[in-house]
Symmetry: C2
Subunit: 335 residues, 2 copies
Amino acid sequence: MSAESATDLDVVCIGNAIVDVLTQNDDETLARLGMTKGSMSLVDAETAERLYEELGPGIETSGGSAGNTAAGLASLGAKCAYIGRVRDDQLGDIFAHDIRAVGAEYTTAPATDGPPTARCLILITPDAERTMNTFLGACADLGPDDIDDGLIGRAQVTYLEGYLWDRDEAKQAFLKAARLAHAAGRKTALTLSDSFCVDRHRDSFRELISGHIDILFANEAEILSLYEVDNFDNALQLAREDCAIAALTRSEKGSVVIAGDEVHVVDAEPVSRVVDTTGAGDQYAAGFLYGYTNGDGLAQCARIGGLAAAEVISHVGPRPQESLSGLVAARLSEG
Amino acid sequence: MSAESATDLDVVCIGNAIVDVLTQNDDETLARLGMTKGSMSLVDAETAERLYEELGPGIETSGGSAGNTAAGLASLGAKCAYIGRVRDDQLGDIFAHDIRAVGAEYTTAPATDGPPTARCLILITPDAERTMNTFLGACADLGPDDIDDGLIGRAQVTYLEGYLWDRDEAKQAFLKAARLAHAAGRKTALTLSDSFCVDRHRDSFRELISGHIDILFANEAEILSLYEVDNFDNALQLAREDCAIAALTRSEKGSVVIAGDEVHVVDAEPVSRVVDTTGAGDQYAAGFLYGYTNGDGLAQCARIGGLAAAEVISHVGPRPQESLSGLVAARLSEG
């Protein structure tokens, strides 16, 4: 929480810049297109185009895990910026408009050639299930040149989305961002994003964490996968050795935060009805980092994370629908 | 786990020596006797006698919290002893017979005068609810003279039942036992027993814990009451300062064990159907202390505690119905 010099940003988030395209569809359409309901598939440009033509009118809205965290941070009142790669096309314009509209600074130059802006085609069926087809396009080509030296130095925390940890260029971009952050006396944070992601890149994730990361976010499946253990307490012991701070989320069991000698076991915020868990981890990270950059103790950070996660799972969609700053002020004043 | 000299006992349990009297009754009987279904009331000798006459044939079985723990320890294969006060009457004979029959050494001399042996009249209604009327009688008069110096020195751990921490004589007995245990290089453990119990004796419990106790057992309601805080993480931080080892049980959330720098967050053992939670804490303590006196690490102690608790809540009654040693061997070999 100490910084060598003043910062005018709390958090800069780096992630996959994806536009979500939500369309209402019936079960027959899914069957005709050969999709398994509830699944998430990566598709190529051609398939994405073909699918999009088949679908009815959609609602476009900028998404992406770190983008959702930036939206949460802005809703909490934090000053944040976003780095992510789009193409100079219509969906790229939509992404840039939306991320700026939530209040995040966004200056990554759109690519002038190469694949189009990433999109996630989301087919919502009448039973509220979501079937997703993601075309990564431009976002996966993020590289070191997209990392703005000045921007990283201005933020207390640089937050990295694990989904990007795949291609070499993106890995170099993360390492550059981490080096810049530490050179400026700032902190770095990483979310593991997905247990399949961890499976594919276990060793390099562990090197990244032990060498370059100050704050690790992971859910239970991800941390078990990272350490290849089968129970939470074993993973906890290993994370304690590896991480300066680890915030481990456990759905309805709340979260456990460890930092050297410090440990906190924080209950989940009660939710009357869980509608859609998409974005829970993104909003937990937003709440935690809001508290952290505000100088709050780690137990309070975890509690704010839990409040933000509880809001987002109470409705459809991965970004807050009510003002998180108002919600947090109201709930924390209750004691 | 270290001992200055060899011990031939693992644990000596000190508690309220109570005989449970289980009777089947209908709702009309409860109404006629003016009882609130599901409640637990303390009654005097006269009321206990009068109620007993009103009730049908009963099943007598020795109970009491630390007695249940001794039964669990014996079922796990630990060598244990019990100290608790009965009167030289029929129920006293039943208590002594049962506690010895489970395999615990029991040599406390029965009182030759004063109130009769404690009993808990349990009215079971057809809906499986239990309504309890406890007459403490002889057990609450336990005093320093009942503490056998030699017995304490022979056991690795002296385990104290918080329910007894009420009358001065019993408090003196606890302090004597703790002093003897430490003089012999042994460990002491305490269960807080009940949050009302903690409410009544908060300050003296805290003095007892910080001055004389090595291992504290408490459930969530009890530890919140002890430290007068309203969330688990706050209680955890305070227990970390006060206790060499604290094992904090949280029902379906499992348990958290803290010991200096060490911390373990251990999941509850899955149970297909919770039938009767009576004795869950007693059996957790049995499992934990079995592991502890066996030289196991604290995470393993918590896991065995969870296994023993899961067995006892799967059936009616506060003592194990299947061999805990077999159960633990089978489950731990699964990994």
